[in-house]
Symmetry: C2
DNA sequence: ACTTTGCGAGAGCACTGCTCTCTGTTGCTA
DNA sequence: TAGCAACAGAGAGCAGTGCTCTCGCAAAGT
């Protein structure tokens, strides 16, 4: 049972986040202004602090929401694939990552761009949501039941141990070599999307969807997935 | 011939940039404050505008300097390799990219992180400096004189044409397929470094140098270079 | 009916980028 | 050498920011 006051509070809170997201896309993360949000709500600037204790806290909330919106989008795209078509699942993940990023560039910058200076997201509130997409890739690799091969380069014993140690907290039973393939695939995907969004490709590539598809196929082969 | 006044001006300008770089590393790009720089110089806030017309202009100057410092570092590392050891040259590039980024995280964020909101670097002043490292990779691929192979996935005709079109402005005579390999290698490298610096790997990898070496070897194979 | 709690208003502090005007100095030139 | 123009810094001021404080009102709980 919620009291009218609680509902009103929630309503205002939702409005704040809605306006904040909107501000984020028009002004960028540094342009996020509590005062501007208050103004838009018809509130005096100090009243906003009844809802959000600080600008940093608002950023954390936006990061959580964005990670979840991102995770929802990519998971939904991947779920539409047949489970045994591993190459297609990888392609669906890659394409939907880019699609979400292009549709929400400010949010992408918030998640994978430079950290907002002076602010550090509390890990306990963001790592879970932030792991959803990487975990999706690792889940895919787990389903592939891949074995380390000759093509996997050697790694130091310390790195091998480290990747062994995180094994229990990951889906399936990923050998360190396979986990490393997944890390590279995810990193490459982030790099491709970030370089596109942040404008580093402007003088070379403009055919972004085609370029991404091409590179996703390369990465699929690197992962060890059949093209399907 | 320079007058004392010109020399004094240049001196102050250098001080401004020095303090700005220092402020960048302690406060981050959004913490860059013209007033703080003026304060540190013992100047009143308005006097700084005799040297730097705006905060955006200061950012552009910092970006140019950073790109060049980055390019210097990577080029120097690559130049220390024997020209015919292509695998080593790639490894040297990758390692020195990471080394520079770890040593100058704020500058890395400025170059490859989210663009500072409201500000857009004038391309005519940054693209040349920003292309130095990518060009180094492409020069390496040109030296390798690689041919497209079965392993290169197909690409759309439009993308192929686009990569053909930039060919003359690049070193050697890179076929679109080889250029695409280079773009992926550079993107992956940026992704790996950014994810490390921006803290996305914290719960998985801490053995960063070993991890990078491992992935550089993978990428070297993908590029088609002998391990050397 | 009384008290606690929550919410908004308003003033205020310290900070930012940036503009304007005024003053003293420097350096070139007639 | 005298005079003028360019320049450098000072200081005030505007509009904006995050955030804190106090005050009063109204709703909710007892």
């Amino acid at each position: 049972m919620t009291t009218p006051r609680q509902r009103a509070h929630q309503q205002t809170m939702d409005d704040i986040l809605r306006i904040a997201h909107q501000q984020l896309s028009t002004e960028g993360s540094a342009g996020l202004s509590l005062r501007a949000i208050a103004r838009e709500l018809g509130l005096v600037s100090s009243a906003i602090y009844r809802y959000v204790p600080s600008r940093d806290e608002l950023l954390t909330l936006l990061i959580e929401e964005s990670y979840n919106s991102f995770g929802d989008a990519v998971e939904a795209a991947e779920a539409r694939c047949r489970r045994d078509e591993l190459g297609r699942r990888w392609q669906a993940i890659g394409r939907s990552v880019r699609r979400w990023a292009v549709a929400n560039p400010a949010e992408w910058a918030l998640l994978y761009g430079s950290p907002v200076p002076g602010y550090h997201a509390p890990p306990e509130r963001t790592t879970a949501a932030g792991s959803r997409v990487p975990l999706l890739i690792l889940g895919l690799l787990a389903d592939a039941e891949l074995e380390p091969s000759q093509d996997d380069p050697p790694m130091t014993a310390a790195l091998h141990r480290e990747l062994e140690r995180v094994r229990p907290s990951l889906p399936g039973e990923l050998p360190p070599e396979i986990l490393a393939r997944g890390l590279l695939a995810f990193s490459s995907l982030c790099g491709l999307v970030s370089l596109e969004l942040f404008g580093q490709f402007t003088n070379t590539v403009t055919q972004f969807p085609a370029h991404l598809d091409h590179q996703l196929t390369r990465l699929g082969a690197l992962l060890g997935l059949d093209p399907a």
